[in-house]
Amino acid sequence: MLTITDLVKSYPGPKGDKASRVLAVDNVSIEVEEGQLYTLLGPSGCGKTTTLRSVAGLEDPDSGRIVVGDKTFYDSEKQVLVPANKRGLGMVFQSYAIWPHMNVYDNVAFPLTVESRSTRLGKKEMTERVERVLAVVQLDHLAGRQATDLSGGQQQRLALARALVMQPPLLLLDEPLSNLDAKLREEMRFELKRLQRDLNITAIYVTHDQVEALAMSNVIAVMNGGVIEQVGRPRDVYNRPASKFVADFIGSSNFFDGVVDRREGTDRYAVSTDEGEIFATSQYDLAPGAKVTVAIRPEHVQIEEGRPEQAGPGIWSGRVTARAFLGDSVEHKLEVGKLELQARCHTDLSLPANTEISIVLPPEWCSLIPTGE
């Protein structure tokens, strides 16, 4: 549906000369399939918005190719650049970009009224179309209201209606929920997902909120520093972070260093660390002796009061140094030799500081990330 190939976009650097140009998007390639909700996830400044705006036609990339369906929107080789207003995409902006001088109906009808005369809908069809899309987002009863009189959630739905009214092949969503309060955001998250699935819309979703990304996406691409760090289904990205950055950015992780001892299976390795040997999983092809970082999420660290009954790979003994009650879980800070770890446990288990414990690091939750050198 959407194919981006080797997209590059740079901005003038602080000195304004060519050498100091800052790469916002650095050779990004993605592939989005029909009906997918594809999320670009990353911290601010990672290039996700620039990528999205390049697809929309609001940024003029340096090089690369952008194809939607069978239409090439941008191709630096062939010198193709379709302007934003000819791309026929729908977009929801972070600020909603509701036009404050129009009412609800006019906002939604705008994309239809600016079409060239030959393809423009008749008055009746136009009204019908607008009303239908307003009904979809449940704003039909507010059509005559001034846009500025809407609540935050209503404005958000209005922006969505405006983006959908042209029935675009691709919907671009630029942090659409970030301006809502927490409660409303949760509601809208499901609403948006339901609409996308029901209407079978292909959408690119840009966000820095990992919970949002995990909850809504079919595919997540984690971006950092202008490059894509990992692409995958939400579960894979969460459970098998391919880089320290991904592991840290999505949820939180415990990290410690180790060296690969040997391969134990297709994706299973034995790794020696300062605190003892563990078994771990990795999608990388690692040779013995390779330096790696072990990542494991706090909720996957299992602890039990008392010393471990039997020692073995991934079974360590340690001590609780602190704990915190978080409502739906209890967080323990642990000490294993010189290593500090965090474990998030069910509320049934709450151990005071200085309790001796046994720690289990299950191989399937221990991810290995090569450190490079």
Binding site: S29, G90, F93, Y96, W99, P100, H101, V114, I228
Partner: protein, 586 residues
């Protein structure tokens, strides 16, 4: 657990990284693009602005740097080689700084109160604030002589029982500063009205909510958001006050307070006029303002913070003043009484007298409408009224449309050298009106199309003279409009022109309307170039004003001024009604 995120990014990436960013490709300019309205309109506007400002500028440069011997710097030597310049510069700086502060502070406060708070009597304040704009400048200053001269000043007469004779002396540096400041406050007022009207109050409200006091919110939230407007106000005011002539001539000269401009005026009134020397001063001024504009454009690149019209929760709503409402209302009325009611009263009183005398029971009971009859009997009055308003309205409309496009170019586009457009549009501000007039004469006397001797040359002159103001009004508003509003229209399929017409223009309305009102008002009293360029049959009101002034018919002039005020109030009211229908509804 923090780590440098880039260290291991290439682990997964099959894509080549680390190669230097490719050079951005330049698409070659395609002449067929001119058929596209965007390119056409922008190119046309830039060409027109360039043409309008370069004509007088080149004439000025030519006069400054060339004489019969060729290239020369002699004009600068003449201009800056004079003895006693130090005192002139000192007086000018004190005067310009003081007057700028007075008008910026008063104009901003008035605008803030009328636009952002629930202060009483808003409509009255709005229309009233503009009155000094239309009173012929010379009359406003004369009215102040009659109000605050130590010998015959009405205010001094009133205060005499309490403070003794001559409480106020208008013939002093501070008298000049206050009169000039109050005379120019409406320009700032209009600029700031536009800025405040397009401001999202939620920012102020959230500050109020967190316990800040109103003055604190004004200082910490409102003012910083209005920075582009404030900058524009300061820039225009500073230049205007350095160039001001009437106030220093009428209030400063009598007591030996000479300023810079008295020199410019002097070198222009000699025979033959020394355009070179005048040019030397103008060019110095131009360099300073160019610097200012250059830095503003650079600075505002990071200027998302000024975008107050965003597509989210934008709801203009006044802030309650609470228990201070009547107190502040009273203070406002007091300012009003001083700055507008008193001078207007003097004007009205003068207009009913055969000559000015200190008001007394006798003169007050002996009113006559002779002066009004004179004005109406004057063969050219009606024609002059019509010509002036046609010209004023036409030039204001053209200027505001052109500068709206130009400000889009400066604020929104990423074209290299766009600050030059801003700068070009500002050039006419530093060119003395007389020099502009002579430059236009020079060009259009040699022009193949009959523009000389028609109204068109006046229109060209007005559009040129008011372009700088229009540009400040338009770009100030443009800074406030969130970029996403325009982008969302683009993505919705709208062409540049559709976006400009249906999104930008309506959102710019507060600023454009304010600029429009300003230009219509002040063009009516434009004298220095009108008097040189009009032709028999094309008389404008400025010609009548000039005539009555030269002839010492101050009372008739006062009658004309009073009629102008009436016309102004009607026009402002109509313009506001029109504006209310197209702008953001509050």
């Amino acid at each position: 657990m923090s780590q440098a995120p880039t260290t291991d990014r290439n682990a997964l990436d099959a894509l080549p990284t680390g190669n230097p960013p490719p050079k951005p490709k330049r698409m070659r300019f395609d002449w067929r693009k001119l058929r596209d309205p965007k390119t056409f309109i922008i190119v046309a506007v830039v060409l027109v602005i360039g043409y309008l400002s370069l004509v007088p500028l080149l004439y000025l440069l030519w006069g400054t740097f060339f004489d019969s011997t060729g290239l020369t710097g002699a004009a600068f030597e003449r201009a800056y080689g004079t003895t006693g310049l130090g005192e002139l510069v000192y007086n000018s700086m004190v005067f310009a700084t003081g007057a700028t502060l007075v008008s910026v502070v008063m104009g901003t406060l008035l605008a803030f109160l009328t636009e952002r708070t629930d202060v009483p009597l808003k409509r009255l304040i709005f229309a009233g604030s503009l009155i000094p704009l239309i009173i012929p400048g010379i009359l406003y200053t004369i009215a102040w002589i009659f109000l605050a001269s130590p010998r015959i000043g009405l205010i001094n007469k009133w205060l005499e029982p309490f403070f003794g004779p001559g409480t106020f002396d208008v013939f002093t540096l501070y008298g000049m500063i206050i009169v000039q400041g109050m005379d120019n406050a409406p320009l700032v007022f209009l600029l700031m009205v536009a800025a405040f009207r397009s401001m999202d109050p939620s920012l102020e409200e959230s500050a109020l909510m967190s316990g800040a006091s109103l003055p604190h919110v004004f200082r910490k939230v409102t003012l910083p958001l209005a920075k582009p407007a404030l900058f524009a106000a300061f820039l225009i005011m500073a230049v205007k006050n350095i160039e001001a002539f009437e106030t220093p001539a009428l209030l400063g000269m009598p007591k030996g307070i000479w300023v810079f401009t008295s020199r410019i005026w002097r070198v222009l009134s000699t025979h033959p006029a020394d355009y070179g020397q005048a040019g030397a001063y103008s060019i110095s001024l131009l360099l300073i303002t160019s610097l200012g504009i250059y830095f503003q454009t650079r600075y505002s690149r990071r200027g998302k913070q000024f975008q107050t019209v965003t597509g989210k929760g934008f709801r203009p709503r006044p802030m309650p003043l609470g228990r201070f409402r009547s107190l502040i209302g009273g203070a406002l009325l007091f300012y009003f009484f001083i700055a507008i009611v008193l001078p207007a009263f003097i004007l009205l009183y003068m207009s009913t007298q055969p000559f000015y005398q200190v008001p007394s029971i006798e003169t007050m009971t002996n009113l006559s409408f002779e002066n009004y009859r004179y004005v109406f009997d004057h063969s050219q009055t009606m024609r002059a009224f019509r010509n002036s308003f046609v010209l004023g309205i036409s030039s204001a409309t053209l200027v505001m449309f052109g500068t709206a496009v130009a400000s889009w170019l400066v604020v929104r586009s990423k074209l290299p050298g766009r600050w030059m457009v801003d700068n070009l549009a500002f050039v006419p501000l530093v060119i003395p009106g007389l020099v502009l007039g002579v430059a236009l004469l020079f060009v259009y006397l040699r022009f193949p199309i009959a523009i000389y001797g028609t109204m068109w040359i006046l229109l060209i002159s007005y559009v040129t003279r008011y372009m700088p103001y229009g540009m400040r009004y338009a770009s100030t508003s443009m800074y406030q409009i969130g970029g996403e509003l325009e982008e969302s229209a683009q993505v919705s399929g709208a062409t540049w022109w559709q976006t400009f017409r249906r999104i930008n223009l309506p959102l710019l309305v507060p600023g454009l309307l304010a600029g429009w009102i300003y230009i219509v008002m002040t063009s009516v009293r434009e004298l220095s170039s009108s008097i040189l360029l009009y032709s028999p049959g094309n008389e404008v009101l400025a010609v009548m004003i000039f005539e009555q002034y030269e002839n010492g018919q101050f009372t008739e002039l006062a009658a004309l001024g009073t009629l102008l005020i009436v016309a102004l109030v009607i026009l402002v009211y109509a313009a506001q009604r029109l504006g209310a229908n197209i702008g953001v509804k509050s």
